[in-house]
């Protein structure tokens, strides 16, 4: 009986998550994306619902909310469904959509055949992916551990790349408008520069159009006279050619230099425009930070920047000194307080609530952060042709991200709660995942530092290019 009530509770929460995923999809992504494909939204919302259910089960585990047996059952059901979606269904549908849009074959059955072939190829690569890594001790095929280990690798890699980029980007943005605040004069200067370059481009293009118009008039003028008397025509043509050839050569030479100039100025104008957009974004952020809510986030942002820098440092230490944390921060914090402040309190009781809060915060912020990143990413790379495929790829990424989140969250939980994760996910080498996360995190942070530096350099360069070309 209790199993039934537990199932009902979980089912209700799953429906709530499903509705939330559907709403997110339609609110955030639909505005820029014309989707008529029910299956795409369905798989996205389903992936989201299953991921949130798994997080919810972790929280229930800490709170000891439902029966352990029913928790375990729901874990396994959720995991199987998730794996089915991530490994089988979504890649199949992505291959099907890609082959449909390429339009090589029109016959439906042939497309299905090619999709199956592509999907088998994908499964083969997916399998081979796990071989170089020391993931699992078991050597059976098609077991849950094998699938999860491979999904975990991809997810952990994605997570580390995103975290690395975020950890570098956050201090950079706070530093940028802390050090160099943007004034109205900067923005109006940037606008004037852009307008000036646009006028130059327009003037040059008008010149080109006028010259081409004159050329076409001359050729029709000449050709209309070709029907006249031969000897007059002969005389006229020799005179024309002897007088016009230096000027037409001159004109065509001018034309090609003007066209070359136009290309240069168009590049300058697009670079100036992106700089202007960046400046306006910074100014908007400054204005937002003057409001009350903005001040709160501003202060939080500084703390978060410090945390990011600390995290990069710690991952570097972890790799260099080859250590993987065994104890979660909650227990360590409690041990420290007991040790240094000599406070005796009920460790069991407090550790449960503190770890619940910590895990809850981690879960909520990672879901929110991922959804925001997905939205931004989607706006940047979406186009009307391939939106369906992009949404499915994002759903796949989200599913893998959440599974690896669960793998890594294990480290943040006290030992007595880790049991269910180890039990459900099987016998994986969890330490390996942490080490892999640290490596990729560090690599991605270094890479992002390089990219941001190049971005900064190119914006400096565009201003110098403008000065060189326009102010002469």
């Amino acid at each position: 009986m209790s199993l039934l009530t537990d199932t009902i509770v979980v089912a209700i929460s799953q429906i709530a998550f499903f509705a939330a995923g559907w709403l997110f999809f339609f609110r955030q992504l639909y505005r820029n994306y014309d989707v008529r494909n029910r299956i795409v939204t369905l798989s996205f919302a389903l992936t989201f619902a299953l991921s949130c259910t798994m997080f919810e089960l972790i929280i229930f585990e800490i709170l000891a909310f439902l029966q352990p047996a029913s928790r375990y059952l729901h874990w396994r059901i959720g995991l199987y469904c998730m794996l089915f979606l991530l490994v089988f269904f979504i890649p199949f549908y992505i291959a099907y959509l890609l082959l449909n849009t390429i339009k090589i074959v029109r016959d439906f059955r042939l497309v299905l055949c090619f999709t199956l072939i592509a999907w088998c190829f994908y499964l083969y690569i997916f399998w081979k992916l796990g071989n170089p890594f020391p993931i699992s001790n078991r050597h059976e095929f098609f077991s849950i551990e094998q699938c999860i280990s491979r999904v975990g690798i991809i997810g952990v890699t994605a997570m580390a790349i995103l975290s690395g980029f975020g950890a570098v980007n956050c201090p950079y943005t706070y530093m940028a408008y802390f050090i160099k605040p943007v004034t109205d004069k900067d923005i109006s200067d940037a606008q004037k520069r852009l307008k000036q370059v646009m006028e130059i481009v327009a003037t040059k293009k008008k010149r080109v159009a006028y010259i081409e118009h004159e050329n076409s008039l001359k050729t029709t003028f000449n050709s209309s006279f070709s029907s006249m008397n031969n000897k007059w025509n002969f005389l006229r043509r020799t005179l024309n050619s002897s007088f016009m050839s230096p000027s037409t050569n001159n004109l065509s030479y001018n034309l090609s230099t003007i066209k070359q100039d136009i290309v240069t100025y168009e590049e300058i104008s697009s670079q100036l425009y992106t700089d202007l957009v960046d400046l306006q974004a910074i100014q908007q952020r400054i204005e937002y930070s003057k409001t009350f809510q903005g001040k709160y986030f501003h202060v939080l942002g500084h703390f978060f920047s410090l945390y990011c820098v600390w995290k990069i440092f710690i991952s570097f230490i972890n790799i260099v000194f080859n250590r993987v944390g065994k104890v979660d921060p909650v227990t360590r914090g409690i041990e420290l307080t007991v040790h240094y402040f000599n406070m005796q309190f009920d460790v069991q009781f407090w550790s449960q609530y503190v770890s619940f809060t910590l895990i809850g915060i981690i879960v909520v912020t990672s879901i929110r952060g991922l959804l925001i990143t997905l939205t931004k990413f989607f706006y940047v790379i979406s186009s009307s042709r391939s939106s369906n495929v992009i949404v499915l790829c994002l759903a796949q990424l989200m599913g893998m991200y959440f599974i690896s989140c669960i793998l890594l969250i294990r480290m943040n939980m006290p030992a007595q709660y880790r049991q269910i994760i180890s039990q459900v996910l099987g016998d994986l080498q969890f330490n390996f995942y942490h080490r892999w996360f640290d490596c990729i995190f560090l690599l991605s942070a270094l890479f992002s530092i390089g990219i941001l530096y190049l971005h900064y350099r190119s914006s400096q360069q565009s201003i110098s290019l403008y000065d060189k070309n326009v102010q002469k």
């Binding site: 505005r31 820029n32 994306y33 014309d34 606008q191 852009l194 307008k195 646009m198 481009v201 327009a202 003037t203 293009k205 008008k206 080109v208 159009a209 006028y210 118009h213 076409s216 008039l217 029709t220 003028f221 209309s224 168009e266 104008s269 697009s270 100036l272 425009y273 992106t274 202007l276 957009v277 306006q280 908007q284 706006y379 940047v380 186009s383 009307s384 042709r385």
Partner: protein, 247 residues
């Protein structure tokens, strides 16, 4: 109207969602041939110039520079667009994609963005048709990707005064770029619309119905922007043929 030497310039804003084909359309109109590959996403504003010749039978041709400001349509740049590009223009071309109904629905929002920027009062955030009363700048609607549209119809079946009303059921599923039937937005804005495939191999100047509509749009802009006496504008079509110099 700005002048360059002695040839006046008219500015046309080309607006629409991202990837509907604005840059391809503008290139087709100005250079009379399609681009070889689809262009990259426009960042900022891409400028193209067309030298427009007006002819009347007895005088010399009038030349005008038509400057197309092809504004990139991505959502992120919404705030920077208005103050930069919406300041001066003589006409607006709204471009939508026949394969995406969303881009057609968003045309109202694009026009509203421009109206809101230009009007000094505070306007509500939802588009209502009465804001168009004070807006008298010439508009043209362009629908691209005609070859891929597969018979989608944008036509406003309820308002058509056509005698072909009884043939609606058979013809409403086919695309009819018919002069007498217009889509909802074209009726709302009271303007013309062009259906075009920007990558067809035909030159644009031989596509007579579309050229006619485009030229009448240019004429409307010229009439509004200058104070020319009306007798220089007889009411029949102008052809932009560069090669009829001598009658």
């Amino acid at each position: 109207m700005g002048t360059n030497g002695d040839i006046p310039t008219l500015v046309v804003l080309v607006l629409g969602d991202s990837s509907v084909g604005k840059t391809s359309f503008v290139h087709m109109v100005c250079h009379d041939q399609p681009l070889s590959t689809p262009p990259p996403v426009t960042v900022g504003c891409h400028i193209e110039i067309k030298l427009y010749e007006r002819r009347d039978r007895h005088h010399n041709p009038n030349l005008y520079f038509i400057e197309f400001h092809d504004v990139g349509g991505s959502v992120q740049h919404k705030n920077s667009r208005s103050s930069m590009f919406y300041d001066e223009f003589n006409g607006i071309i709204l471009v939508s994609d026949l394969t995406s109904h969303q881009s057609y629905d968003n045309l109202k929002e694009w026009l509203y963005e421009v109206i809101r920027y230009r009007s000094r009062q505070k306007l509500p955030t939802e588009f209502t048709p009465d804001v168009l009363q004070n807006f008298d700048i010439p508009i043209l609607l362009v629908h691209t990707k005609l070859d891929e549209s597969n018979g989608v119809s944008l036509l406003d079946n309820s308002k058509s005064p056509n005698v072909m009303n009884n043939n609606h059921t058979s013809s409403s599923s086919s695309l009819l770029p018919n002069f007498n039937r217009k889509s909802v937005l074209a009726n709302l804005f009271n303007c013309d619309e062009i259906f075009i495939n920007c990558y067809s191999n035909k030159r644009f100047s031989v596509d007579t119905p579309n050229v006619t509509k485009l030229n009448s749009f240019f004429e409307k802009m010229i009439k509004k922007a200058s104070v020319e006496p009306v007798e220089q504008l007889p009411q029949f079509e102008w052809f932009t043929s560069e090669n009829h110099y001598i009658h």
